[in-house]
Symmetry: C2
Subunit: 449 residues, 2 copies
Amino acid sequence: MEEETLVTSSDIRDLVEAGDLDGAAARLAAVHPADGADVLVHVDRDARVALIDRVPREPMARIIEYLPDERRPEILEDIEPGALAELLDEIDDDIVADILHQFPAQRAAQILGSMKRAAAVAPLLRHADETAGGHMTRAFISLHGDWSVDRAIQYLRRVRPDADTAYYLYVVDHIGRLEGIVSLRDLIIAPPDARLSDIMSHEVVSARDDMDQEQMARLVQRYDLVAVPVVDADNRLVGVITVDDVLDVVEEEATEDIYKLAGIGVKARALSPLTDSLRRRLPWLAVNGAVALIAAFVVSRFESTIAQVAALAVFMPVIAGQGGNAGVQTATIIVRALALEEINLRDIFRVLGKEIALGVVKGVLFGSALGVIAYLWQGNGTFAIIVASAMFLNMIVASLSGVLVPMTLRYVFKLDPATAAGVFDTMITDIMGFFIFLGLATLMLDRLQ
Amino acid sequence: MEEETLVTSSDIRDLVEAGDLDGAAARLAAVHPADGADVLVHVDRDARVALIDRVPREPMARIIEYLPDERRPEILEDIEPGALAELLDEIDDDIVADILHQFPAQRAAQILGSMKRAAAVAPLLRHADETAGGHMTRAFISLHGDWSVDRAIQYLRRVRPDADTAYYLYVVDHIGRLEGIVSLRDLIIAPPDARLSDIMSHEVVSARDDMDQEQMARLVQRYDLVAVPVVDADNRLVGVITVDDVLDVVEEEATEDIYKLAGIGVKARALSPLTDSLRRRLPWLAVNGAVALIAAFVVSRFESTIAQVAALAVFMPVIAGQGGNAGVQTATIIVRALALEEINLRDIFRVLGKEIALGVVKGVLFGSALGVIAYLWQGNGTFAIIVASAMFLNMIVASLSGVLVPMTLRYVFKLDPATAAGVFDTMITDIMGFFIFLGLATLMLDRLQ
């Protein structure tokens, strides 16, 4: 199946490259919009503008719905506001809100002003993009608890709700406060004269509209939901989030974690424009450079030791590098466990104890191995012991920093624990590794020559 | 809401720590099973055994359903096979299959033999754990296309299907081949005398039972599905995957990507036992160590140069480290883009061109900055030019290796592109960085003293 869809979008790209834009546009309008979106993401700008121009409004609107969030602003940039407003009028309101959030305020206002459905979309724009409110749709069905099952079914037949939001009916009181939910399955198997309040489930998991999207995703995942109702501060039902949006959030948050660990701005993508990529990668690279200079400064304090025993320079990168790697491994596991809420502050001593124990084992293993290699290579026992001790100690440093850096970022600075945790850990193991190794060598210098 | 649930599980942990196991067990049986699972994950083994013993079978079975996959074997280990079989008889068959997959074959067979529902679960065990077949449930509703809507509704009222699998009805022919799907929403709004074949959707996205779970998850995500039917090689419907399983897969695959980049075994977790963690982290750490020795060997070739100009040792870690960081940034973006199918082999030259351009910009920026610093620090123009050139060239190396390492892992070796991409990239930038820097210094040695 997946193979087939890749073939579909590849076919259309072939047509584009052969210059047959009309043929490509005709196929684009006919295939599944997810495949159409895939094509628009991959062709170059000129071809994209030409294709968007040729695809009729209805299929084009579907394709826009399936475009990846972070590429939409760039892809929609070339459509003039009036035409874009007409397209957006055909699109689910939560996606329209997403799109308008990403545009500069002036352009967003201009487009919203030209939309027929401006009144439905405008309330969604009050919510920040990365909150539950920013992901919800207002196309939900809410009914009163004193309605009968039969009346509810007649109502559904009349309004014919959207296929992708109708898994549940929401029962609300006279001022719109959420009281319970009824799944379509419950509705079908209930006696026609039962009241909704009798068959509804009272145990409703809901999200507040200002809840962070990561928390919201964790809620859906924790309780295995298919849709989650969104309520305001007064428990009034204001929208519904469907699980397909949650899937996107989970993936987006995972990507963010991965990127942050490597010190990359979160919206970076392989195919995004060059200046964008620079802006997203340079800052942490500059921090890393500054940090490397601190490490260089530490090394420079020991220049005369190195001048006398140049073999130290041979083992410096091994001790620092191995420590850095172990630290990043530990930090990665801690960051992920914090993100998935597998651990919290309460577990710090348990986790720290485990990682230090691991550090001792790794330190003994790699320390003694490296000591043996150093002895065979340089034939100096003191040199070998210094190498082994520095390797051992840097492994303990790696365990400590691997746990404490993400925990400190999270619980002291209230930041995302992934924030450049890799950069900080490498910094600590580099600096401490050089200091321990060259420091020990300087203390024992007379035995090394 | 999330805060509340954390409070719930924290409360119960307080009771456990206060020694009130009966009180804790009573609350455990009463709270949402997701919260109960959270408690079992966090308490120590003795308390866990005592709690499992005290919670009645029905709520205990629900809690087991919500335990995180990778912690289940360890948590269920202490339950004797007969009691475990009774618990598993109450659990969704796809989860039972998951659990049995994770046990040693002999224990799995023993438990399956004691289960009443062995016949329903056994067929699922044929499928590998990480395929669509390994995630599907067999609790789906399939009907024939010539049934009327009314007859289908009567049927649903009689069988009262599980709430969490009943979003769609699947229409099959006389030998069980999938012909179409009908959502409950379609069923409710259709005229009672319509035939299912008239109202069903023919455009069915399905997964083959042997499809890899990552591909399957991508399918669900690409087409925004809530449940995906699973078919065998003859297009016969054999199961259904619900989106909550897909969410778990997306998260699991993201975690795998993160871990692989850092060179960690994929099932590692912050709270998993020590020996487990060692087994999962040592291999790549050992590879990293071996690689570091290659870098050390390169440095050792230039020992006499370093003995004469010890300041080289000061700038070595900056040039290698900055290159490593830039390489990991690039590799991370490429790995994620490959995983999310944002790019494929077809895009290689476009991506490579962009990354080289980025490398030139970064090389000029950091090369000239580091050159100026080197000049101010050492007061030697030739030294400064060597530092700047080495930094510039290593940035280009980082761009090349950042793109080519994951691409090679994927398209030449057919491996997951994340497989230790970070380790390989650091290796290449370390070795090349040292070689370029110390090589240039050796060529110009007479101007450095």
